[in-house]
C-alpha cells in the first residue's frame, strides 16, 4: 500500500509542492485543513506554511492558524462540554473504541504520512499500532476510573459523604512536536475519556497525522466540538491558549522554559490547571495511566443528609 515516490519522477509545481508527473494523471494533493466544531474550515487568517522533512521535501500547505481560529475552537469546545460530559461513561468508552477501529482501518495512510515525515518504516508502524492500542486502553478506562478514584468518606455526623471526579471543562493542549501521532493520541485520549472537550495545537513541523486523525475523529461518532485540532506555530498561539478565560486547563508537552514560565504566570488569571508532559516517554508504559485522566478531573464532594447509617452506631 506504500506509495514510493521516486525523486526522478518529481517536479516542483506552482505552489511549491512536489508533484508526480510520470503518471498519466495529475496527482490530487490533499488540502490539510483544521478541525473546528466537526467541520474542516481553512484558517480564517488565510495564512499557510509549508513544513518540510529532513531531506527538504515540502510536505504540504498547512493552515497557519490564528488566535481567531483558536477563539472559534474554544467556542465549539465549550458548546460541546455539556453534551459530552453528560454522556454515559460507558458510551464514551464505546466512542473511544470506535476511534481506535477507524484508526486501524486507515493504518496505511498514517504509516505513509509518518514516513513522509522522516520516520523509518518500522518505527512508523510501531507508532501507529501503539496509538491504536492507546485509544483502546483509555476506552476501557472511561467507565472505570470514577470507581477507582471515588471515595466514600468517614464523617462524624449523619451525612453520607462521597467524592467523585468530574471533568474540568475545556482543555487547551500544545501537542508533542516529535511523536506527531502517538503523542497527539496520548494527550487527547485521557482528556476526552474523562468527559472534557479540547482544543489541540498539532506539531508544527509534523502536522500531517494530526489533520488525518481529525478525519478519523469525524467518522467515529465523536460529537462535533469535543476535539478541535489546529495547526500552526506554538510561539504565536500559546499566549492565547493560556489567556483565554473560558479555558479550564492547559497541557504543554514541550521543554521551552520561557514558555513554561509564561504559562505558569498567565494561567493564574482564571486559575487554569496546568500540566507539563515534556518528560513523558509515550512509547513506554509511563505513557498511559489513569492518572492522566485524573489530571483534568476535579473532585466533587457531596454531603448528603441521612438518618443514622447503621443501627449499631457504626458507619462512615
Amino acid at each position: 500500500m506504500e506509495k514510493t515516490i521516486k525523486k526522478s519522477s518529481l517536479t516542483i509545481s506552482e505552489n511549491g509542492l512536489e508533484k508526480k508527473v510520470s503518471s498519466k494523471r495529475l496527482e490530487v494533493l490533499k488540502t490539510y485543513k483544521i478541525y473546528i466544531g466537526g467541520q474542516f474550515p481553512r484558517t480564517e487568517s488565510g495564512r499557510y506554511y509549508i513544513p518540510t522533512n529532513v531531506a527538504g521535501k515540502k510536505l504540504a500547505n498547512v493552515c497557519l492558524s490564528s488566535r481567531k481560529d483558536f477563539r472559534d475552537a474554544v467556542l465549539a469546545a465549550r458548546g460541546a462540554v455539556s453534551g459530552w460530559s453528560g454522556r454515559a461513561a460507558f458510551n464514551r468508552g464505546q466512542v473511544l473504541y470506535r476511534m481506535a477501529e477507524m484508526l486501524e482501518g486507515r493504518k496505511a495512510q498514517f504509516i505513509d504520512e509518518l514516513i513522509q515525515q522522516d520516520a523509518p518504516r518500522a518505527k512508523a508502524e510501531k507508532e501507529v499500532n501503539l496509538a491504536i492500542d492507546r485509544l483502546i486502553y483509555y476506552a476501557g478506562w472511561c467507565d472505570k476510573f470514577q470507581q477507582v478514584f471515588s471515595s466514600v468518606n468517614p464523617v462524624a455526623s449523619s451525612y453520607f459523604n462521597f467524592s467523585v471526579p468530574e471533568p474540568t471543562g475545556v482543555v487547551a493542549m500544545i501537542a508533542p512536536q516529535g511523536d506527531s501521532l502517538l503523542g497527539l493520541v496520548s494527550v487527547i485520549a485521557p482528556v476526552i475519556a474523562g468527559g472534557n472537550t479540547c482544543v489541540l495545537l498539532a506539531s508544527e513541523s509534523k502536522p500531517l497525522c494530526a489533520v488525518t486523525f481529525a478525519e478519523v475523529l469525524n467518522s467515529s461518532d465523536l460529537p462535533a466540538g469535543v476535539v478541535n485540532i489546529l495547526t500552526g506555530k506554538p510561539g504565536e498561539l500559546v499566549s492565547w491558549f493560556v489567556d483565554h478565560m473560558d479555558v479550564n486547563a492547559t497541557i504543554y508537552c514541550e521543554t521551552n522554559s520561557e514558555i513554561k514560565k509564561m504559562i505558569r504566570e498567565r494561567s493564574a488569571m482564571n486559575l487554569k490547571r496546568i500540566f507539563f508532559y515534556d518528560k513523558v516517554n509515550w512509547y513506554t508504559q509511563e505513557g498511559q495511566s489513569p492518572y492522566f485522566i485524573m489530571d483534568t478531573q476535579e473532585i466533587k464532594t457531596t454531603w448528603h443528609p441521612i438518618e443514622n447509617i447503621a443501627g449499631a452506631g457504626g458507619g462512615y
Partner: protein, 310 residues
C-alpha cells in the same frame, strides 16, 4: 359596554396599499451581505459596542416570568457589568403588561424605558376591543412604549384596511406611549409583503416598526431589516416624519449587531444611530456585547462564567 368606553375611530382616508413598491429579493440579499464586509476595529469597535448595548430592549417574554425575574432583569438593565467602568445602560426593558408595574418601580429614576407588548401578543388573535383594553392596561400601568402585533391572518387575506384601522386605533389608545408595530416578518413570507406591511404601519401611525415577536423563526435578518429601513427612508422623504426601527429575535452576537449599525448608518444616516430611533430586541445579545467590551479592554478572551446569568 367595552365598545362605548373605547370608541374605534377609523381614519378618514385609506391609501391603497396593494400598490406598495415591489422588492428585488436578489438585490436586497446582495446589498445586505455587503454590510457584513465592513471592517470595524479598535476604538470604533468599542464605541460601536457601547452604542449597541445602549440600544438594547432587554427582553423577557416568557410564560414563566415572575416579579423576581423582572426585577433581576431591571437590575441588569441599570448595571450591565459593574466590574468595568464606563459601560452604558440598556435602552429599555420589554415585558408583558402584567409586569409593567414591577419594572416601572424597579427602574424608577434610571431613565430606562419600560416597553410592554400588548394586543394579544404574540399571535394577535383576539377581538379589537380586547387588544385595545390590553393596550390601555399597559399604558395605565406606566408603559413608556407599546409593542403591538399586527393581525397577520387578516393581512394575508388582503384585508389591509382592517390592519390599518387596527394599528390606528391602538395608536389612539397609546396616549404618550410610543407605538412599535411588530410585523412578524417570519410569517409574512415575502419581502413584498414586508414592505407593504411596513407602509401600512407607518401610515397608520406607528412610531417604530419592528420585525418580530421572537417567538417565530426566522426572526430578524439583515435583508428583512434592510427592506424595512428602506421603507422608513422612503416614508421620510415623502412625509418628513422619522420612524424608528427595531429588529428583534435572533441577534445574539456582537459582530452581527455591529453589521446592523453599519446598515442603519448607510441606509438612514446618523440621525437614526441612537436609541430613540433604533433598538435591538434581544436578551442574550447584552452579555455577548459585554464580553466583547471586556475583551477589548483586557485583551483576553472572556468566559460566560464571569457574567450575569439571565
Amino acid at each position: 359596554m367595552a365598545l362605548a368606553k373605547f370608541p374605534i375611530k377609523s381614519p378618514a382616508v385609506h391609501a391603497d396599499f396593494s400598490f406598495s413598491t415591489h422588492i428585488d429579493q436578489v438585490g436586497v440579499e446582495e446589498r445586505a451581505s455587503r454590510f457584513t464586509k465592513r471592517s470595524i476595529k479598535k476604538e470604533s469597535k468599542v464605541n460601536g459596542l457601547k452604542l449597541v448595548l445602549n440600544m438594547i430592549d432587554l427582553t423577557t417574554l416568557e410564560g414563566k416570568d415572575t416579579d423576581g425575574k423582572v426585577k433581576q432583569l431591571c437590575y441588569k438593565a441599570m448595571h450591565p457589568h459593574d466590574a468595568v467602568a464606563g459601560i452604558p445602560t440598556v435602552a429599555a426593558i420589554c415585558v408583558y403588561p402584567s409586569m409593567v408595574k414591577v419594572a416601572k418601580k424597579a427602574l424608577e429614576g434610571s431613565g430606562i424605558k419600560v416597553a410592554s407588548v400588548a394586543t394579544a401578543f404574540p399571535s394577535g388573535q383576539a377581538p379589537r376591543e380586547i387588544k385595545i383594553r390590553d393596550t390601555r392596561y399597559a399604558v395605565n400601568e406606566g408603559a413608556d412604549e407599546v409593542d403591538m402585533v399586527i393581525s397577520r391572518g387578516k393581512f394575508h387575506a388582503g384585508e389591509y384596511n382592517f390592519v390599518f384601522d387596527e394599528i390606528a386605533s391602538i395608536k389612539e389608545n397609546c396616549g404618550n406611549a410610543r407605538l412599535k408595530v411588530i410585523l412578524e416578518t417570519g410569517e409574512l413570507g415575502t419581502f413584498d409583503k414586508v414592505r407593504r406591511a411596513s407602509d401600512i404601519a407607518m401610515h397608520a401611525g406607528a412610531d417604530f416598526i419592528k420585525t418580530s415577536t421572537g417567538k417565530i423563526q426566522p426572526a430578524a435578518t439583515l435583508p428583512v431589516t434592510l427592506v424595512m429601513l428602506e421603507a422608513i427612508r422612503d416614508f421620510y422623504y415623502k412625509t418628513g416624519k422619522m420612524i424608528g426601527m427595531k429588529p428583534a429575535g435572533g441577534i445574539s452576537k456582537s459582530k452581527l449587531a455591529l453589521h446592523y449599525l453599519v446598515m442603519v448608518k448607510e441606509v438612514l444616516g446618523e440621525d437614526w444611530l441612537n436609541n430613540h430611533w433604533f433598538r435591538f430586541g434581544a436578551s442574550s445579545l447584552a452579555n455577548d456585547v459585554l464580553m466583547q467590551i471586556v475583551k477589548e479592554k483586557t485583551g483576553v478572551y472572556q468566559s460566560a462564567n464571569y457574567f450575569s446569568v439571565d
